[in-house]
Symmetry: C2
Subunit: 242 residues, 2 copies
């Protein structure tokens, strides 16, 4: 752990990565999958399904990042991946309404147990912005579902580009009306923090060692000298003097 609350006195806004950092996408997708299976009497590997869906996520954004495809929001990308996976997992029987509803599970993800209370404490001192690859509707709907007190749902949609492209961080900082050093990126992913630091932001690593399930191998520890390293959002609040 590096940094101290004192050295962070100029920070005015915390900018959060959302998927994996604030919300437990894997557990949430598994739970909705299991509910669907129970309702229809299906037997499906829901953990495998969640992992496969998420495995399609980074590759789906690549053409946008590389300029070969115009920005489309995550409902579109999630749906393209979903439509490919359904036959593989025995879910071809879902009709259009059911597919659309299932696709929007990403709007209904549950926060990590510490997320809501940690953000409530952090919000007493800082502006809280989403700096997410999720679009506004997704972040706003998720906020209502999970009780997340955002000041502003920002990120990819405003820049019409995906992290870790620089313009996503730059646009968010600009829209908050702040200098980069007045903002701090909060993420469970070292790559995201590296990209944020390159744009001048402060950095806080929050450990989410089961984001990818019990056998997670990535992002188990900070691999940079981030300004803050915290075990969860309550720990982050404590380290930032909230």
């Amino acid at each position: 752990m590096t940094g101290s609350p004192e050295s962070m006195d100029t920070v005015k806004a915390l900018c959060f990565d959302v998927f994996g950092t604030v919300v437990d996408w894997r557990g949430s997708v598994i739970r909705e999958c299991e509910t669907l299976c129970t309702a229809r009497g299906l037997e499906i590997d829901c953990a495998g399904f969640a992992d496969a869906w998420r495995a399609g996520y980074q590759p789906a954004m690549t053409p946008v990042r590389e300029g070969g495809r115009a920005y489309v929001h995550l409902d579109i990308l999630h749906r393209e991946i979903l439509d490919e996976l359904l036959p593989r997992f025995g879910l071809s029987g879902l009709n259009e309404d059911e597919r659309d509803h299932f696709n929007r599970v990403w709007h209904r993800l549950d926060g990590w147990p510490d997320a809501r209370e940690g953000m409530r404490r952090l919000r007493q001192r800082f502006l809280l912005a989403a700096l997410s690859n999720g679009h506004v509707a997704l972040i706003v709907n998720m906020a209502r579902h999970a009780g997340l007190p955002w000041d502003a749902p920002l990120g990819a949609e405003m820049a019409r580009q995906y992290k870790p492209r620089a313009e996503v961080y730059d646009t968010t900082i600009r829209m908050l009306g702040l200098a980069p050093r007045e903002t701090m990126m909060v993420a469970a992913h070292n790559d995201d923090l590296r990209a944020a630091r390159a744009r001048g932001m402060r950095t806080a690593f929050v450990s989410r060692p089961t984001e990818y399930g019990p056998e997670q191998v990535s992002d188990l520890a900070p691999d940079g000298d981030w300004d803050i390293v915290a075990g969860d959002f309550l720990d982050l609040a404590g380290r930032l003097g909230c």
Copy 2:
């Protein structure tokens, strides 16, 4: 009064005009002007000053709306108007920091007395979005100052254009992930409601008969058959079943 809560069942988000509808810009600017005068021992016509500042507002947006000037946010436009007014009102002595602080009074406007509680009630049933000519930083800072519970601060900055240009309404509706008929514009200004209706939104007129002071002559009554007409936000909440 037209419309009923029943006919509004498909509305999912309320999109608010902010200046004049949610917050009392004139009273707030007058109060900060008077505080400044007291601190410096000046005698200034603060009501006249507030009115003059606001009178420059619509003309300042015109070149952007007409395409002759690229979008710049309201801090820029407010400052240009302010710099012209200061000599006229005996305030040329303000230094750069003081001018910058005074210019940001628009980030510190107070809500109308019913705004906070009305929005709290409305938020139990609807998503609440700003659909403002104010930019994100202004709306977010004002929300903290006045206790306004936005789900999303949207509007001009996302469209890089000013109301009543259609793209400001269209961009907000799109970012909320809704159909136009699932959104309702809430405004104290008939022109704003007319532009919103032209984009397919529902409409609610809220009366703010002293926005421009005790001698206000415009927007004293609805001049269209708006879906809802309300006396204030508490009345609006009641009419919408909140």
